[in-house]
Each structure stands twice: as structure tokens, then as C-alpha cells.
């Protein structure tokens, strides 16, 4: 399966010292009331993408995340379980997965399909597969938003991320415009539904001429890895590939099963 990327925007908390809420209010004049950091992260990615490209109202919107909005769950849990209080109306609304996609669609002027989806593992890969199937059916563009927001208490995320205690976490947002159209694309993404064994992935790597980049979970493989844990690291690597004009082979691993993303810049 192949997708072509026509525009991309990103934010990483370890690379930019900004407060999301302030940035949205001062730079983009966004109404920040009744929203939270997860929504702010999505809006920042979307608005930065909008600065680079025209987005059709007929584009589909796919948002994905490794975990969703953990901080709002913590807040709701405190209301109900600890404080024995009723929940606040807009906290409840913000807890719903598609609230972020609503605000993003609104900012981008998208009127077509809007999906919020999560996969337990390989969430970015699986979203690309969904997008590919959707594009083959409609042949319209897709905006793909990937949001991973670190929890206010790092340990909450660390406990559900299959990582060691005190593994450094960062927040990451990547928005991209994808289609099946090669013309004018910034890069090509190739992926499939296959899971590779360790032996198979070693063989693919040994035969590849592309630069290798590994997920932190690929402990048995040698190569360049992110020093931080981000569930959707693959999406951020696309930025790097485009900036460096370098082709990359990204390898993700979970439970001894490997997946590949080929990025041709």
C-alpha cells in the first residue's frame, strides 16, 4: 500500500518551549474556552497544517493517538470516584474521543468524514491502512492527525505504555495531508498488513538501502532510536525524512512482531 504526503506540520514538547493554550490564543486567535490540552494539541497541529496547504471541505479527517486524552480521564475519575461530585459539563464533552476531531474539523472547515481511532499497538500503521482503504473508495484527500500527549503525572502513561519506570516521555503532534496522488507529493509512505518476525526483519534491514530508524521498543535491533518514548514516533520521523531529503526505513516492534514503514522523500 502506498500513500503520498502533500503537507505536514508538527509539534514536539522537547523541541519547542511553548504553552499550547497561549500559542493558540496569541498566534491563531483561537477561542480557548472549554477546551483542554489534548484539544489544544490537535488544534495546533491542524492550524499549522492549514498554514501550508489548502484543505478541501470534502477531505476526510482521521485522528489517532496511542492512548487518547489521559488527563481528562484523570480529572473525571477524581470528580466521580474521589470527590463524589457530579462531573462538569464541558469536562464530560472533552472526554469524548471525537470532541477533539470536532474542533479540528471546525478549524479546518472539514464537512466530510471525521474519525477518531486508536489501536492498541501499531496505531499509526493501522490508521494509515484505514486511510488507504478509505482513499481507494473515495479518492479524496485525507487529513491525518496524530496526537500523543504526555500525562500530567508521567507514571500514568508509563504504566500503559509497556516501558520501564521513569522512561522519558514527550508530547508529539503531527498532522499531514495524504492522498493517492503522486504529483506534487513531499514523500511517499509504503506499508502493509504483514507482521515480520525477528529473522525476517533482520533480512529486510540487511537488504535495504534506506536509512534505518527504530522504535524504542525494538530492543533486539541495532540502529538509530529516539531518546524519548513516543507511541506514534513514526509520524514524526516523516518530518525528519523530508527535512533531510533522506529515505528512511522505520521499524516498530511489539510482542516480538515487527512492522515496517518505508519513507521515500
Amino acid at each position: 500500500m502506498k500513500l503520498y504526503l502533500h503537507a505536514i506540520s508538527s509539534y514536539r514538547s522537547d523541541k519547542e518551549d511553548i504553552v499550547l493554550k497561549k500559542e493558540l490564543k496569541s498566534r491563531y486567535k483561537v477561542d480557548i474556552r472549554r477546551k483542554d490540552d489534548f484539544i489544544f494539541a490537535g488544534l495546533l497541529g491542524a492550524l499549522r497544517l492549514k498554514e501550508q496547504t489548502d484543505i478541501s471541505k470534502e477531505s476526510a479527517l482521521y485522528l489517532t493517538s496511542g492512548y487518547g486524552n489521559i488527563n481528562i480521564l484523570a480529572k473525571m475519575n477524581k470528580y466521580i470516584v474521589e470527590d463524589k461530585e457530579s462531573i462538569k459539563l464541558f469536562d464530560f464533552i472533552n472526554m469524548l474521543g471525537n470532541t477533539t476531531s470536532f474542533y479540528v474539523a471546525q478549524e479546518l472547515g472539514i464537512k466530510a468524514k471525521s474519525i477518531f481511532q486508536i489501536s492498541d499497538n501499531f496505531t499509526y500503521f493501522n490508521t494509515l491502512i484505514s486511510i488507504y482503504a478509505s482513499l481507494r473508495q473515495t479518492n479524496k484527500e485525507v487529513v491525518c492527525g496524530v496526537i500523543d500527549l504526555a500525562s500530567e503525572n508521567d507514571e500514568v502513561l508509563q504504566r500503559v505504555a509497556a516501558v520501564e519506570q521513569n522512561t522519558p516521555l514527550v508530547s508529539s503532534v503531527v498532522f499531514s495531508q495524504l492522498s493517492l496522488e503522486e504529483k506534487g507529493a513531499l514523500c511517499k509512505l509504503e506499508f502493509d498488513t504483514k507482521f515480520y518476525t525477528y529473522e525476517e526483519i533482520k533480512e529486510v534491514i540487511s537488504k535495504s538501502s534506506q536509512k534505518l530508524y527504530l522504535s524504542q521498543r525494538c530492543k533486539e535491533l541495532e540502529g538509530e532510536k529516539s531518546s524519548f518514548y513516543i507511541e506514534t514516533d513514526a509520524s514524526y520521523l516523516i518530518n525528519k525524512a523530508i527535512q533531510e531529503q533522506e529515505d528512511y526505513l522505520y521499524v516498530e516492534c511489539y510482542e516480538q512482531r515487527y512492522k515496517l514503514l518505508k519513507i521515500t522523500a
Partner: protein, 373 residues
């Protein structure tokens, strides 16, 4: 085109056969649940099939396994390896809640351990338990979650990416979710009264439903569907129902049909003030007044993330049994000459449109057809 091979479910009326028997005699079942209201605990009407106040992750997973087992046992091991799982739900992520409680509250602290978990863990655990391919997705678009899961699954089948997809709709009682609906003043104090001037809101419900999709022949097919988003208001649409009408018209286009081809419409019909007025106006826009329509939520409750798939599976069972259930609790119509079914209707074949509209501006409509096998 994807075909609907088989479905199975558990809902407030029971398992499949019990549900069908009760629908034949226009019966429903409601119980009560206690939730956190604005001034302390309150009791609300609820359509439940579980007995405990809130189930654990493991208990929910066991319930899902029971529902999917008949579907997945019909596949060979080779077929299972080309079967993926797509879930539609709006349930709270209980594994993340466990992590929150263990990390944030000293008295609930557990020794550190870490396992990859998310709202998609149910799908992943089902995939692992039954030896399926391993591709899983969980879609959360509120009331349209499992309707969108069905359409996304259909894309995967149509493009030949997977041979089989088991689509699961899941909604289990949650104090948090119910309290949220209560805070929005959307809950009825007694029953769902679709398209009725006296309507006062929803009765929530829980359900687990699974449907197996494939290209292989079946008497039921998914002809097409459409999903859009209304970016104007997060909790409501215009009373004129333009957004709802648009999604219904686009679904007809996707299925290469016209309004005249539709035998019956299964309305979303939540019994809330704004949804019902928008939907009845949308129905009038698309069908003029020439359409038979009914509502299923008065029987099963509003099962939020599960309703997309549950109401389809229940409607299919009813049609296969030769009837369409009447709309319960409808007495005083919003539009005099545009009323849902007041008596059960004999019907054993045809083309059916199903509507789902939700928070976050998500609207979905799709069309299924019963043909010759």
C-alpha cells in the same frame, strides 16, 4: 460490496432469541442504575443486561468473548488469520483508569508494572484469544462509533485488505458516562418517546454486538453508507436537519439508489428535543412524506457506541423473522402526517436505511439490503 455474514448480541432484552421474542410482542425491559447527580446520587432508568453496578475490564472481555465466539468459530484457522477486529465504542478506558488510580492515589498504589493498554485492548485481546490476524482498531465517535466501525470495516473488505472483519459494538454501564448525560440534561425520567411532542430525553442502555463482514455471498449486504461532520455545534444540529438530510442523501448516492428504493428507514430517534426535530425534518427533506420508518431505541435503550451495530443486527433478525417492530411510546407526533410505525409491520425483504447521529457533529447513514442467497 461487503456482505453481512452473521451477527450475535446481548442487550437489555437478553440474547438474540430472547430479544426477538420480546420485540415480536412489543415488550421492553428497563431497570434502574445509581449515578452521581448534581446534588448527590440519583437513580435513573437504564436498559441493562449485566447485574453489577460497573463491570471490570476482565468481566467485559469475557462478555465480548461469549458474543463473538459463535461468529469466529465458524471460521477455519486460515480464515481467522485473515480476519481483523474493528470496534466501535464510547466506553471509558478502564485500563487507563487503573493506571490513573495506581499512580495518583497512594491508597490505591500498586507496584510498578507496565503493559501496553488503550481503549483498543478489548480488540487486541479478542484478536489474540481467537488467533486472528492482529490488526485491530477502535473507533470512538460517540453515538456513531459502531456505525462508523462498520463502514471502515467495509472499506477494508472492499479493498481486499482483509477477507473477514469482525465488527464489535460495545457499551457497558458507566457512572461517568451516565453522569455526563445527566449533566447535559438529556436523560428521560421514564421512557424514550421518539418523535413525540412529550419526549424528554434518552434512556441509556448497554449492549455487546458483533457482526462478521466478508465478500462471500450472504443474503444481507451493506450497499453503502456515508459519514459527515457538522462543524457548527458540538452537541446539536440545526432544527431544519440539513446535515442529517445531507448524510442520508449521500448514503443513497453511495449505494446508487434513490429515496424511492428504500423499503424502511430505521431512525436514530433518541427522543431528545433537538435530535428528533432535526431528524424528522431531515426525513421529510429526503423522502417527502413517503417513507415507512421506525425506532428501536425505546426497546433497547440508547446504547451509544454500540447502537450503530446493535440496531442493525436487531433489525436484520426482525426482518428475517418477517416483521418490523412498531415504535414504542409514540403518541403525539411532531409532524402530524409523518409518524413512525404505530403497529408492527409484516416485512421479510427489502432495502433499509439506518440513521445514526451523535455528539461531536458526527452523522452516519448506511443502507443494507436483503436479497437472494
Amino acid at each position: 460490496m461487503s456482505n453481512i455474514l452473521q451477527s450475535n448480541y446481548r442487550c437489555a432484552l437478553g440474547a438474540r432469541q430472547e430479544t426477538l421474542e420480546l420485540l415480536k410482542v412489543s415488550q421492553t425491559k428497563q431497570s434502574k442504575r445509581v449515578i452521581m447527580g448534581i446534588e448527590g446520587e440519583v437513580e435513573i432508568p437504564y436498559c441493562s443486561f449485566t447485574n453489577s453496578q460497573e463491570l471490570s475490564y476482565e468481566e467485559i472481555l469475557e462478555e465480548i468473548k461469549e458474543v463473538v465466539t459463535p461468529l469466529l468459530n465458524s471460521l477455519t484457522d486460515t480464515q481467522k488469520r485473515s480476519c481483523c477486529v474493528v470496534v466501535g465504542t464510547s466506553v471509558i478506558d478502564l485500563k487507563i483508569i487503573e493506571s490513573i488510580e495506581s499512580s495518583n492515589y497512594a491508597y490505591k498504589r500498586q507496584p510498578y508494572s507496565s503493559q501496553k493498554r488503550s481503549i483498543d485492548s478489548y480488540a487486541k485481546d479478542i484478536s489474540d484469544s481467537f488467533g486472528l490476524h492482529g490488526f485491530t482498531l477502535t473507533i470512538n465517535t460517540a453515538c456513531t462509533s459502531s456505525a462508523n466501525a462498520l463502514l471502515e470495516a467495509s472499506n477494508l473488505i472492499d479493498e481486499g485488505i482483509f477477507e473477514y472483519v469482525v465488527v464489535i459494538g460495545l457499551e457497558i454501564f458507566s457512572n461517568t458516562l451516565s453522569s455526563g448525560f445527566n449533566a447535559m440534561q438529556l436523560l428521560s425520567s421514564d421512557h424514550i418517546k421518539p418523535f413525540d411532542k412529550q419526549r424528554e430525553g434518552v434512556v441509556l442502555g448497554e449492549a455487546i454486538v458483533a457482526t462478521l463482514l466478508a465478500k462471500e455471498p450472504s443474503k444481507w449486504s451493506l450497499l453503502g453508507g456515508f459519514s459527515n461532520c457538522n462543524g457548527v455545534n458540538i452537541t446539536s444540529v440545526s432544527p431544519e436537519g440539513e446535515e442529517y438530510a445531507e448524510v442520508m442523501q449521500e448514503a443513497l448516492k453511495k449505494a446508487d439508489l434513490t429515496a424511492e428504493d428504500i423499503t424502511l428507514l430505521k431512525a436514530h430517534a433518541t427522543g431528545t428535543f433537538s435530535n428528533d426535530i432535526a431528524e424528522i425534518n431531515a426525513i421529510e427533506r429526503v423522502f417527502n412524506k413517503d417513507i415507512v420508518f421506525t425506532a428501536i431505541k425505546p426497546y433497547l435503550g440508547h446504547t451509544i457506541g454500540a447502537c450503530g451495530l446493535l440496531e442493525m443486527a436487531v433489525l436484520i433478525d426482525c426482518i428475517d423473522a418477517g416483521f418490523v417492530p412498531k415504535t414504542l411510546n409514540h403518541k403525539d407526533p411532531i409532524i402530524e402526517d409523518l409518524q413512525p410505525l404505530k403497529e408492527p409491520m409484516l416485512c421479510s425483504e427489502g432495502t433499509f436505511m439506518l440513521n445514526y447521529f451523535g455528539f461531536g457533529g458526527n452523522n452516519t447513514s448506511f443502507i443494507i439490503q436483503k436479497g437472494e442467497l
